[in-house]
Amino acid sequence: MFPARYWREIPQRYRLEAGKCKGCGKTLFPPRIKCPKCGSTDFEIVRLPDSGVVRTFTVIRVGPSQFSDQAPYAVGIVELEGGVKITTQIVDCPPDKIHIGQKVKVEFRRIQEDGSAGIICYGYKCVPAV
């Protein structure tokens, strides 16, 4: 992962910064230039809430190269409060306890790294809400 490509998405990966359309109020994550709903190009930056619900999930047993050591790991689509959905790993939970409708919250974690000498890439994962 070349540093610039990672660095560009930091506001989204670290702070869940999204774009709220001033035209129709739709929240887009990541922020966009043009609203797919109303076509407006006028946005304000908002931070997404850090809690939500699991809408669907799976447990990945065969991962791509940078993730193969992590297998098995759970991945899900989480609908955060307010309606924006994100794809994220679900951790600190035995895979057989993950379920559709489960309440989760966002935690800051390492996502991947570029070998032992490249940059470390951070971002969001979800853990069960206590």
């Binding site: 047993r61 689509i77 959905k85 559709i100």
Partner: protein, 385 residues
């Protein structure tokens, strides 16, 4: 717009082709299609290929393959739309003939997937997803479809056994296809006992890694007889649509809206509806995909795809045979070639050349080819001219 016909089809060997390079595989298919068509001159060429760059470090395929196919000098372009690359290449060739810009167009699709490790192939395939917001977190293609499967099962009560039936049916068809990568039957039990890839999907729910190519020749319908005595197969309808790239941006994870939109356009142009289709080749990259796609095409009601697979509705001999070629599951899935190979199967079926897996009296067939989790989809309807 002129009527366009498919007048020649060809395939390379499909499988783990250690001895053959990407260019060799493509040329094998292209020459077979040219021979089958009877044409002597090609005006233009389209190649569907998802990622020769990641698999073999090769871009600029149009130049390379037109050169090695012996037709250097013609207009050539590579088309990419993840797993829909072949289908979109076909549509591009169709548009060029229909518009009158060219008369004889070669459309090929190719993918060489075994020159990287298994991890490397998983990574290359995962580039069809949103790299920064899906791929970044470690989701894979089996993972995305597994999430769709979990949703379909929770909402519609689809069972693991019903999903497995898709693989069993496609293998039964593939066992009758001499070109299939895995031409043997399997059982539901075998599927359910196979290794987990992304819960609940197992290795036998997933289409394989395959090297292979497929090619077709297109020309205006009224020129077909100039080249071949075989029955011409007319492109009666063509539709193309896109959807959000990320699965999480869809309201409904199993709706495949792009398939429905593309199909609606194709049905409209052809002047037919789902019940007029006699057979279809659809994109069963994973078993669950076929279930969702037959719902999206209107062959069955939403949520009933699992029951259809289990009941034999979509098997050879059933009401609407789906994937008589063996589908991606049994025939193989060299990504860029698949969309073109679907055209090959329907064309042969409509010509009555499909041997043991022939659908009797087949006159109208449909192909559905999609990329990623349905972010791009093309549907074609072919008819005996």
């Amino acid at each position: 717009m002129r009527d366009v016909a498919v007048i020649g089809v060809g395939m390379s060997e499909w499988g783990e082709l250690w001895k053959k390079s990407l260019r060799q595989i493509f040329v094998e298919a292209a020459l077979a299609a040219i021979k089958d068509s009877g044409v002597e001159k090609i005006d233009s060429m389209y190649v569907g290929c998802m990622s020769s760059g990641l698999f073999v470090g090769q871009e600029h395929l149009a130049s390379l393959l037109s050169d090695y196919a012996g037709v250097s000098g013609i207009s050539a372009a590579r088309v990419e739309s993840a797993c829909a690359s072949g289908g979109v290449a076909f549509r591009s060739g169709y548009i060029e003939v229909a518009s009158g810009l060219s008369d004889v167009v070669l459309v090929g699709g190719v993918e060489k997937m075994t020159d990287v490790s298994g991890d490397g192939a998983t990574y290359a395939l995962a580039t069809a997803a949103d790299q920064e917001y899906e791929g970044y977190v470690g989701v894979t293609f089996p993972g995305l479809y597994a999430m769709m499967a979990n949703d379909h099962m929770a909402r519609f009560g689809t069972t693991r056994e019903q999903i497995a039936h898709v693989a069993v049916k496609n293998h039964r068809h593939g066992a009758m296809n001499p070109r299939a990568q895995y031409p043997f039957e399997i059982t539901v039990d075998a599927v359910l006992k196979s290794v987990l890839v992304a819960d609940p999907l197992r290795i036998l729910d997933c289409s394989p890694i395959t090297d292979g190519a497929a090619a077709v020749i297109l020309c205006p319908l009224d020129m077909a007889k100039k080249f071949t005595r075989k029955p011409a197969v007319r492109v009666a309808g063509s539709g193309s649509s896109t959807d959000t790239i990320a699965l999480h941006d869809r309201e409904d994870f199993t709706e495949f809206a792009a398939t429905t939109r593309a199909a609606d356009k194709a049905y409209k142009t052809a002047g037919v509806g789902p019940s007029d289709i006699q057979l279809a080749e659809v994109h069963d990259c994973f078993t669950i995909a076929e279930i969702c796609v037959i719902e999206a095409l209107g062959f069955v009601k939403r949520g009933e795809g699992g029951k259809a697979a289990e009941s034999g509705l979509t098997a050879l001999g059933g009401k609407i045979p789906v994937n008589t070629s063996g589908g991606l599951k049994s025939k193989g899935h060299p990504v860029g070639a698949t969309g073109v190979a679907q055209i090959v199967e329907i064309t042969e079926q409509l010509r009555g050349e499909s041997g043991k897996r022939q659908v009797k009296g087949a006159k109208r067939g449909l192909t559905q080819n999609m990329g990623g989790t349905g972010g791009s989809t093309v549907v074609h309807i072919l008819e005996v001219a």
